[in-house]
């Protein structure tokens, strides 16, 4: 599964990277971010686009597994 590293990126760059990766890999991707704001934005976007985002937190970093609903 394609991995997007969006740690440290300003809003809304993590979402732009996620959107681009989902266009290239419509079956699903994994995104790593390091702030709650990006987790919320990506989860909301995934929902709009017919995906679901499962999150896992470790040491202040979140891994979001985005798959088709």
């Amino acid at each position: 599964m394609t991995n997007v590293d969006a740690r440290g990126r300003s809003c809304p760059e993590p979402l732009i990277l996620t959107r681009k990766a989902l266009i290239d890999n419509p079956e699903g991707i994994t995104v790593v971010v390091d702030n709650v704001c990006s987790v919320e934005n990506i989860t909301r976007y995934a929902g709009h686009e017919g995906y679901e985002a499962a999150r896992e937190e470790k040491d202040g970093e979140w891994t979001l597994k985005i798959t088709r609903r």
């Binding site: 440290g8 300003s10 760059e13 979402l15 732009i16």
Partner: protein, 352 residues
Amino acid sequence: MKKNMMVIITGAVIGLVALILVALGNPANMGFCIACFLRDSAGSCSLHSAAAVQYFRPEIVGIVLGSLVISLCFGEFRARGGSSPVTRLILGFCVMVGALMFLGCPLRMLLRVGGGDLNAVVGLVGFIAGIGVGVLALNSGFSLRRSYAQSKSEGAAFPALVSILFILTLCVPALFLFSESGPGSQHAPILASLAGGLAVGALAQRSRFCMAGGLRDTMLFRDMHLLWGSIALLVVVLAGNFILGKFKLSFAEQPVAHTDGLWNFLGMATVGWGSVLLGGCPLRQLVMAGEGDSDAAVTITGMVLGAALCHNWGLASSGNGPTANGQIAVVVCLAILLVISLCNILKGGKKA
């Protein structure tokens, strides 16, 4: 609609607090204006000598501390920085030059629209155009590159700095300048201003309220989530001004405003474009600085520097209109934004 509730409440509360602060003494249509308040605070610290706009605004301190406290409570305080700080300083400077051409940040722009000021509608069109250009840059790969974790003391330094300055204004007022006439002399009582700032800072931290983010996300992702906050703010201010009999629809004779359409447009276009490149409007920068983001703190420093030079060099507009120096400065700032946009577009495989 439920997921939008927090940002709608934030927008409504900002509108309400703005109306209350004006009733308590803040200048008309200026219950909240981050650009004006940073400009007044810069003047109070003797960074510029425009006698009419010198007052250390407690709202600024409240917003930063409100965001700091609530982010600590919810475990969201995160010391971070190192994402092109000097570029951000320059962008903050450009945003302030644009805001002082128009006479207000995006927040005051909406407060002015809600008071019937049609010049602010022209400013809003410019703001939308500027955000559109910023969105083009983002879609082309614009990035100020990533930030990194910093020490807790680095994250706390900016909130500590504004707190110390605020305490000094109370304990050693002789160090500071306070306007005796003009907008700087008009202010709500200190405690009311501080409380208003704390409430707005805390709510804006929780909801991620951002004046630039709402329009940006609507253009980029057709996501109106943040925009609902701005809409709620406008509705509350419009209703409040109608009820209080303060709504006056006109271009002429609006408080702390001028009627030069072209420069109102270009001023706010500069603010919109710069805010998108920075990742948030001036209010959002204050909130992020409270959350431990030292890049946002550097951006605010750039805004304060911009405010000081705008008055020292005669770049800021007044009710009489823009100055020739100010017009040159806005054109130069638009050119700087173009250069920064082009220089920071990362190509395909290039890592941030």
